[in-house]
């Protein structure tokens, strides 16, 4: 077995901290980068599958931060930066504690909200971006649906996107 469906994440323990007051929106710092689950899934080629959504469309959060906005593992959160917003699942970070910071593995979800600003140094700023995190009920999109919803390359009427049928977990093309 080279791959499992979900990354192994610790169980969230709700902390009865006096400092952990409930809040609607958290001001956080976003880091993106590679992760072993993301790397294995990407290079295996399973990018259309639910597996990829489970490894890349996640925000690794500190359990204290998760308690503050009242989310548990695999709940949806909306992450917003100056460059866009995206819905991802919140999961307990293996590297916690890192209160005030979230980590989204690199991939189409993270890159909707990363900065393309290179400051003439050729490299976009993928790490250390200010963001806000809030709870949401919207589902996390599959890769193909996300690319269609965000970049709209082959969509005729942009307003119909939410009603369109999901592209699913398999490649869609017309065979000869």
């Amino acid at each position: 077995m080279t791959y499992i469906e979900k990354p192994v994440v610790p169980k969230v323990v709700k902390l009865e901290e006096p400092t952990a007051t409930e809040r609607k929106i958290l001001d956080m710092m976003l880091n993106t980068g590679s992760d072993i689950y993301q790397g294995a899934c990407k290079k295996r080629g399973s990018t259309c599958k639910d597996e990829y959504r489970k490894v890349c469309g996640v925000a690794y959060m500190d359990p204290k931060d998760m308690a503050k906005i009242g989310v548990s593992n695999w709940d949806s959160v909306k992450v917003t930066t100056d460059w866009g917003e995206v819905t991802v699942s919140s999961v307990h970070s293996r590297d916690a504690p890192h209160e005030g910071t979230i980590f989204i593995p690199k991939g189409p979800w993270a890159n909707v909200i990363t900065s393309h600003e290179t400051y003439c140094c050729c490299d976009p700023t993928y790490k250390g971006i200010y963001c806000t995190v809030e709870r949401t009920d919207e589902p996390v999109l599959l890769m193909a649906d996300l690319m269609r919803a965000v970049y709209k390359k082959y969509v005729e009427d942009e307003e119909t996107i939410p009603e369109l049928k999901s592209l699913g977990e398999m490649p869609v093309y017309k065979k000869k």
């Binding site: 077995m1 791959y3 294995a40 080629g45 890159n111 050729c122 390359k153």
Partner: protein
Amino acid sequence: MAYEPPVTDYDEIVENGTCAFCGCNCDDLDFLIKDGHVVGVRHACRLGASKVMEDMDQRLLVPMVRDENGELQEVDWDTALDKAAELIAGSVRPIFYGWSETSIETMKHGIHLGELVGAVLDNQATICHGPSLQAVQNVGYPVATLGEVKNRADMIVYTGSNPMNSHPRHMARYSTFPRGWFRQRGRFDRTVVTMDPKYSDTAKMSDIWIGFEQNGDYGFYNAIRAALRGKEIDQDFVSGIPKEDIMELAEAMKNVQFGALYFGLGLTHTLSKQRNIDMAIEMLTDLNKYTKWVLTPMRGHFNVNGFNIFMALEMGFPYGVDFARGYPRYMNGETNTIDLLTRKECDVFMVIAADPGAHYPGGAVKHLAEIPVIQVDIHWGPSTEIADVVLPGSFIGLECAGTSYRMDGVPIYMKKAIDKPETCRDDEWIIQELHERVKKIKAKEAAVASK
């Protein structure tokens, strides 16, 4: 993880294959083959194994072109290649991006094609280790091969890098765990230091973890440099690290016999970019007054270093080489893919063995959604969702042979183990064929113009 019984049902073993994943290029993989398919792989890490045991559901097997409804339609090779050649020949400012997961032999044809049409040739360094290459141009490159580190190093520093996640066999095969000529006890003879704001998987298994604050790299290296030069540090804390700890670390780094520093994207993706690496290299310059220290960037793809070395040799510049004026030009912030895309300059984008759809920031992908994209790759990925012409390539190191460069600049010939799927073609053949076809179109245009 569930127990998986060993694979015993196979026809033959192909020994000493090379892994086509990260910059470690482990060349000791054994492929277990049955009926022309790989059923198992030995010695590879989780990442390498996942690439070899690929997902055939999403393997690109046939050439495809978008029809007028915006749906991909299977076509024959001639139609797809003609369509791609037509787009390239008609473009004003094309970018050929990727190359890091293909062979040097393919790049050779890529340069010919790029020169012919005046393209920008760029690779993944532009979004990962580009600043490292700029820093090397600024202040030099105290490089060593991985073998040298294995045999000699008694202190290993990982900074802004998490090899347990992105280069899983790096510590096991080259730096920390193996027994070397002068380090007979392996791990016990070495000190591992991790400098990372995150308590990463590498930090968890290091002897020393320095968790400086976010964007604190630059200040921290400067403080170590000050300590090495015998200067007093004014502040009690630098980048969140107490002054005494910095003095102690500087002293420890001075007193090793051979030190190796590996740095990753933590340095290149934060705000100070190449200045972080300038400082890390100059810190080694200072350390080299006392003892031997070397440094190597942790390159991500198996041939990302190959493109930089090959381009530097052929054209004088490592990446972001612009042929628009008929001769190679290189200027940071001017001829790099992300800048060209965010300025909306590019009009045709060809991606060879890379995935800009997944790994470019949204602002750059937005322009890709407005222009024709040609994709040469082995798997259906985020880039296929925005591609107009799709040409299925083959898997270097497994289905076709080729040369690649390891992260320390050692060239490795990757041999072939199995045959590629019948309908796919070698990357080298695809690029060569595109070159031929573009040349024909250009010759026809020239003939018409002369009349």
